[in-house]
């Protein structure tokens, strides 16, 4: 959290209305989102109890385990879920477009990528664990499962891995997506409850926000968004029903209990299902930021590449990263986070304001401009306009530092002098690039006197991996040496279950 978002929370609490924290939506919202509302059996390791899944808000598919404590049933559950998830993934991967690129392996791009919505970050953990539980299952041998179970595991793992990156949008927890755009007048603890966030953003008709937020905390009317169920529900209704299920003596009795179980689980999931769709609609109606489309392209590239890997019979992801893979992932995470931060700041004045407050960016008015100034370069003289800006922002930059102009495609400028004025700073900058090829700068490429300008130390450049990592066979012994091929071992399949 930052000063700007703290301020937004304070304003929201004071005015009892939600407040924006960004002007634009920085998340791509798919036209064909897939929503998943899972619930699990308390106390077990990700034992699926039921899930609501699908792409049609009015017609959720419901999958209920027939016996959550049985291994075979959990896998059958995964198989049924695979039926609903793998088909959209495959059909999205099947529709591709050609793209111009110097990298031949990326010459096609899927026109769509899956976007799976879960209610909250715990839903992301669910996806990760379900992926881990299923991706090593074998379709042969004594504990054979349908091949789709393993495929599901590989894809769920990919989704969960992608969700660790700040700029990814293939697996989206609804609470976070909402909090990225709006501040409520409650704390982030309350904001972890989807119903409580939605109480602020879209209270039931005729209900005051404060009453709606109170109501959101009553699990009797707003069941928790899962995957954990409400303890009171467990004690009063779920536990007795599971007991009935275990003791059902006839097929008919078992079916009756199963129907009853389905009924009560649907009651627990449906309100959350509706809220997630409502959240998607809210976000979808927001104007997207300029660079959202570009990020979505990159995401589709990753999806396309991974789809190729899977269709070439790629192995399931290893249980643990080897040293190089771990370092790579960490570096990639940092780099993608940095560029995501920069892109958002470039696209969104409200995001940029945070950097201005921190002194890493400033906005001001041009008071002097010398667009035709030339200086002697290494071989010939070059255009280096000088621009003087006054600002009231609390600038914390240094002379000699490089800054960028987001409105001129990230035009570089060097700070040549920095003087404190009565009410702020006077900054002199020397522009470096993006002025065209001619002797004189292209019109509009140099700000004129009276222009409002913004400069920031953030660079919007998508840096490719700067370091060469050793190939897996060259990992030095100090870092564990070359890892073994991640071949699934039978032990994974015979893994004892609770």
């Amino acid at each position: 959290m930052t000063v700007m978002s703290s301020l937004a929370r304070v304003l929201a609490a004071g005015s009892k209305t939600p407040q924006r924290v960004t002007l634009y939506r920085h998340l791509h919202v798919s036209e064909q989102p897939i929503v998943m509302v899972p619930i699990i059996l308390a106390g077990e390791t990700n034992a699926p109890l039921a899930v609501m899944v699908g792409s049609d808000p009015g017609q959720p598919e419901v999958i209920v385990t027939r016996q959550p404590r049985e291994r075979a049933e959990r896998l059958r559950f995964a198989e049924r879920l695979a039926g609903h998830l793998l088909f959209p993934i495959a059909s999205m991967a099947a529709t591709t477009q050609r793209v111009d690129t110097r990298r031949p392996e990326l010459s096609v791009r899927a026109t769509q990528a899956p976007q799976v919505w879960v209610p909250n970050p715990a839903g992301v953990d669910y996806v990760r664990l379900l992926g881990r539980m299923t991706r090593f299952r074998s379709s042969e041998g004594p504990w054979a499962v349908a091949p789709s179970v393993r495929q599901l595991g590989i894809w769920l793992t990919w989704l969960a891995e992608q969700a660790e990156f700040a700029d990814s949008c293939v697996l989206v927890p609804a609470t976070r997506a909402l909090s990225a755009v709006w501040a409520t007048g409650q704390s982030d603890v309350e904001d972890g409850n989807l119903a409580a966030v939605m109480a602020w953003l879209a209270p039931p008709p005729g209900m005051a926000i404060i009453d709606a937020a109170r109501r959101a905390e009553d699990p009797a009317v707003c069941p928790p968004a899962g995957p954990a169920t409400d303890p009171t529900f467990d004690r009063l209704f779920l536990q007795p029903t599971l007991r009935d299920l275990a003791s059902a003596a006839t097929e008919l009795a078992r079916r009756q209990v199963l129907h009853r179980l389905t009924g009560m689980l649907v009651e627990q999931m449906r309100p959350t299902w509706d809220l997630v769709w409502q959240a998607i609609d809210l976000l979808g109606a927001e104007p997207p930021a300029a660079r959202v489309a570009r990020r979505w392209e990159r995401q589709r590239d990753r999806f396309t590449a991974f789809h190729h890997y899977v269709s070439d019979g790629g192995y399931p992801q290893a249980k643990r990263d080897n040293a190089v893979r771990g370092a790579q992932r960490l570096a990639e995470m940092e780099q993608r986070l940095a560029s995501f931060d920069a892109e958002r700041a470039y696209d969104d004045p409200l995001v940029l304001a945070d950097y201005r407050l921190a002194g890493e960016a400033f906005a001001g008015e041009v008071v002097a401009s010398d667009p035709h100034r030339r200086v002697r370069g290494a071989q010939r003289s070059v255009t280096r306009p000088l621009v003087t800006v006054t600002t009231t922002d609390p600038v914390r930059l240094d002379v000699g530092q490089q800054v960028h102009d987001p409105s001129r495609n990230g035009q570089r400028a060097l700070i040549t002098s920095l003087d404190e004025a009565t009410d702020g700073w006077i900054v002199e900058l020397e522009l470096q690039d993006k002025m065209g090829r001619g002797r004189a700068p292209e019109p509009g490429s140099v700000p004129a006197v009276g222009d409002e300008v913004v400069y920031t130390a953030l660079a919007d450049t998508f840096v490719r991996r700067g370091r060469a990592w050793p190939a897996r066979e060259n990992i030095p012994w100090t870092h564990g040496g070359p890892p073994p091929e991640p071949v699934p071992v039978p032990e994974d399949a015979v893994e004892d279950w609770s």
Partner: protein
């Protein structure tokens, strides 16, 4: 966007309504409309929609009652709960009946699981006696059940074993030594009270039924040896027996060879090696405790344990 939308697209859209037949969103949504399709698509019941209206009403009633029960509990009106529970139960039964009518023929009346083929016809105490004799030491119900399933293929319910000891004690008190054996307690060496959750056989010497700090380990190791010897004698173990042996082997250093496999001979050797370390100390403790107990306890107490001496203890 191509998706169907019912909400406005402003900053605060109306909540979306997905239910076709109801308009209130504050009520817990229930299983209707779309849901029946779910059940159909999962192949569970195809002809559900016919009765949908009355079933709908029942479902509303059921979910309403669930909320009422929770409310009553939350507001401290516990007195209301039994009545609401009864109403809920009745509604669920009507719903079950409705379901049965819709499903029509009674295809589901067949009992669910036939008795396991290997089910023994012996009374339970006999089966427990067999297992304990095989193990040769006091054991907890869970272990007795596991050994029974592995060697005799039948099923025992471990919950029933707990009441077994009480029944035996009653029988002994009314007619002491009338039966050839009783299933009795193991006794703690320090207070001679019955050890929680262990079953033993009355014909064993009191030493064997005494439990000191090392006894659980000693009994575990000797049990492992006896099971392994039994497997050696009877030959090729089935999968369940192998699994049980392996479970023992993993907890004895040097007994398990590779994942999921354990040779009886290796188990015996490894268990003997460790037993060597504990046996003398354990034996001495058990013997001393048994001698003292024999002098101080009557027959019933020797079999089923002394009463804890609370008054004396709190005075020291």
């Amino acid at each position: 966007m191509t998706r169907h939308r019912t909400g406005s697209t402003g900053g605060h859209p109306e909540p979306l309504l997905f239910r076709r037949d109801r308009t209130s969103v504050t009520k817990s949504p229930s299983l209707k409309g779309s849901c029946w399709q779910i059940l159909e698509s999962s192949g569970e019941c195809a002809s559900f929609c016919r009765m949908a209206e009355t079933m709908d009403e029942l479902e509303d009633l059921i979910s309403g009652l669930r909320v009422q029960i929770r409310r009553a509990l939350a507001n401290g009106q516990r007195a209301e709960v039994p009545k609401l529970r009864a109403e809920l139960h009745a509604a669920e039964q009507r719903w079950d009946t409705g379901l049965q009518e819709i499903e029509g023929s009674d295809t589901g009346q067949a009992p669910l699981a036939p008795l396991p083929s290997g089910a023994s016809l012996l009374p339970m105490r006999e089966q427990v006696h067999q297992v304990l004799t095989l193990l040769g030491a006091p054991a907890a119900p869970k272990l007795i059940v596991a050994v029974h399933e592995a060697f005799n293929g039948g099923e025992l319910v471990s919950a029933k074993l707990t009441s077994l000891r009480r029944d035996e004690e009653r029988s002994f008190r009314s007619a002491p030594f009338a039966r050839p054996y009783y299933l009795c307690s193991a006794l703690a060496v320090d207070q001679w009270v019955s050890v929680r959750g262990l079953l033993a056989v009355s014909t064993w010497s009191l030493d064997r039924r005494m439990i000191g700090p090392l006894s659980p380990r000693v009994d575990f190791l000797s049990g492992a040896i006896r099971l392994a010897q039994h497997v050696e004698r009877t030959g090729d173990p089935g999968p369940q027996t192998s699994r049980l042996l392996w479970r023992f082997a993993t907890n004895i250093p040097g007994a398990a060879e590779s994942f999921g496999s354990a040779r009886p001979a290796a188990i015996i050797a490894a268990a003997r090696a460790e037993l060597e370390v504990h046996d003398a100390a354990d034996r001495a403790q058990r013997k001393a405790a048994a001698e003292a107990a024999r002098r101080r306890l009557d027959d019933v107490q020797q079999l089923f344990g002394a009463q804890p001496l609370r008054a004396v203890r709190s005075a020291d």
